[in-house]
Subunit: 304 residues, 2 copies
């Protein structure tokens, strides 16, 4: 059986997550995860003439590095599943061009990393591909001008604002463990497809509130489909709800008698120190990509 | 075996394409496929206050109609796979919200319909979902202001320009045929993942030339992976290369000793009459979606 309940997919062969790489800017490396990232950029432009070109460099290098760490050749990867926050997912498209890999472009905004892992797991578990690279990246300076205001305006951020993480994360899924690869104990066993749920939040500076209802719905559906309780999990990890969105998630789930306390981690809340001044934490599809790649996956591998 | 060669996926259970629906504007219905579309909009705004809202209406109605024709309930569909041409694939996202279906957002630009069919086939063939709805849509007036110039400027189109099709197409894939559904003889048997291939075309009015190299590469890879020749196919159909892109495709494939002549159809070349004045044909992800849904699929079903 490869499906259960209404929305959950089961991966019986347990495809392995064998390698990951994370590239960030100095700001992310000044946070609590300092020293855990593979590469920290000296400057936000990475020596390129635009932030967009720097984002592309991060994207490509994250893939190359994850392959290098796995001891595998990118050319041997069956497929690249990737997305970013820019129009026409231009970073992922140019990245796929430069890497010359078979490519499926995804747009999941902040859910891109999870969406790519879901589809890659289906491809590998089903025997359609032997391996796949999943990538998500974002850049503070490209996202600001894409979604909010030109940086030159110097607009101040309201208290609910999260800072878009400047970073790229790549994870490699494989149908077998590799001796050369950093992880051999991490598998994807199930995935639940999310819904687009909209409580009518129109504030571009309150992404947490926009995302929390969908996160609550997906967690509810997953537990129901799997006939499980939160106590069946060591951790339940969300991407980038941030401080405000996390509170909203807990409140929404409490109404449904689902208790996350003591088990919930949010990558957006983990990436910056409070004293860095980004009150509500990090966001953007690079957020979960780099926090998972640098911190969570090594933690799972060690069995912590 | 579920994979062959480097880039091709095999669907041994042959998931069935059981239903489709196409909604277009008057301009498309004035073309050679006149009368074949399910719905022709009276005006490009569909009574909405913006073209974007009209595009959303087309999207939703295409899904509802394809379900209705299949005699199935949209709620019973395992998943919605969709994309469009706008920033943040906003049409697909709002459509998924309004339809309240589990949703995977895709960005493949003009390849969106094929990309969604590929992923849906994996989900259904692999037993992860029993059915899935694939949707792509575009709108001339939203695409112009997204990619080129505001309509109000009245910019004239150069000879290489294609007209973005105003239309939405939905196809439903299922693990079984339904007595109530319009098609029972159409199956997806294989799919080849494309690459992002860039010959450096920077003219936003020459999309055909931008896309032809990738089309040539995918066709070459598919024939090589399947160990087949063009003569093994009744038709080889591309999405929206248009007149110029089609010439370029034939020329690129001739260099590789692959002869498409007599077998190749391009949806972009089929959607408008030459006398309509769109010299190079139609484009946009709605193009292949509506031409396939209204004309090609019924043709395959009848064995023509």
């Amino acid at each position: 059986m490869r499906t259960t309940g209404e929305r959950t997919l089961l991966f019986n062969s347990e495809p392995r997550l064998i390698s990951s790489a994370a590239i960030v800017s100095k700001v992310e490396n000044d946070g609590p995860l300092s020293g855990k990232f593979d590469v920290v950029m000296g400057d936000d432009r990475m020596g390129e003439e635009s932030f967009e070109k720097a984002e592309l460099r991060m994207f490509e290098n994250a893939v190359r590095l994850a392959c290098l760490k796995a001891g595998t050749d990118k050319c041997k990867l069956g497929c690249l599943l990737a997305g970013d926050l820019l129009n026409q997912i231009i970073t992922a498209n140019y990245g796929a061009r430069n890497l010359a890999m078979p490519f499926l472009g995804l747009y999941g905004a902040c859910s891109t990393m999870s969406e790519s892992l879901l589809i890659a797991s289906v491809l590998v578990d089903g025997g359609y591909r032997r391996s796949a690279a999943c990538v998500a990246c974002s850049h503070f300076s490209t996202a600001e001008r894409q979604y909010r205001f030109p940086l030159e305006l110097g607009t101040t951020a309201p208290p609910t604002a999260q800072r878009t993480v400047t970073g790229a994360g790549c994870m490699i899924l494989s149908d077998e463990t590799l001796e050369t690869a950093p992880y051999s104990h991490i598998a994807v066993t199930a995935a639940t497809i999310g819904k687009s749920i909209d409580y009518g939040i129109t504030d571009a500076n309150n992404m947490g509130a926009a995302m929390a209802p969908a996160a609550a719905d997906t967690i509810t559906a997953h537990l129901r489909d799997m006939d499980e309780d939160t106590s069946d999990y060591d951790h339940i990890i969300t991407g980038d709800l941030g401080k405000f969105g996390t509170e909203m998630l807990h409140s929404l789930l409490n109404e449904r008698k689902i208790d996350l306390s003591g088990r919930h981690l949010d990558c957006g809340c983990m990436v910056y120190h409070p004293e860095q001044g980004y009150d509500c934490g990090g966001s953007g599809c690079g957020c979960s990509a780099v926090v998972m790649s640098s911190h969570i996956l090594p933690m799972i591998e060690r069995g912590l």
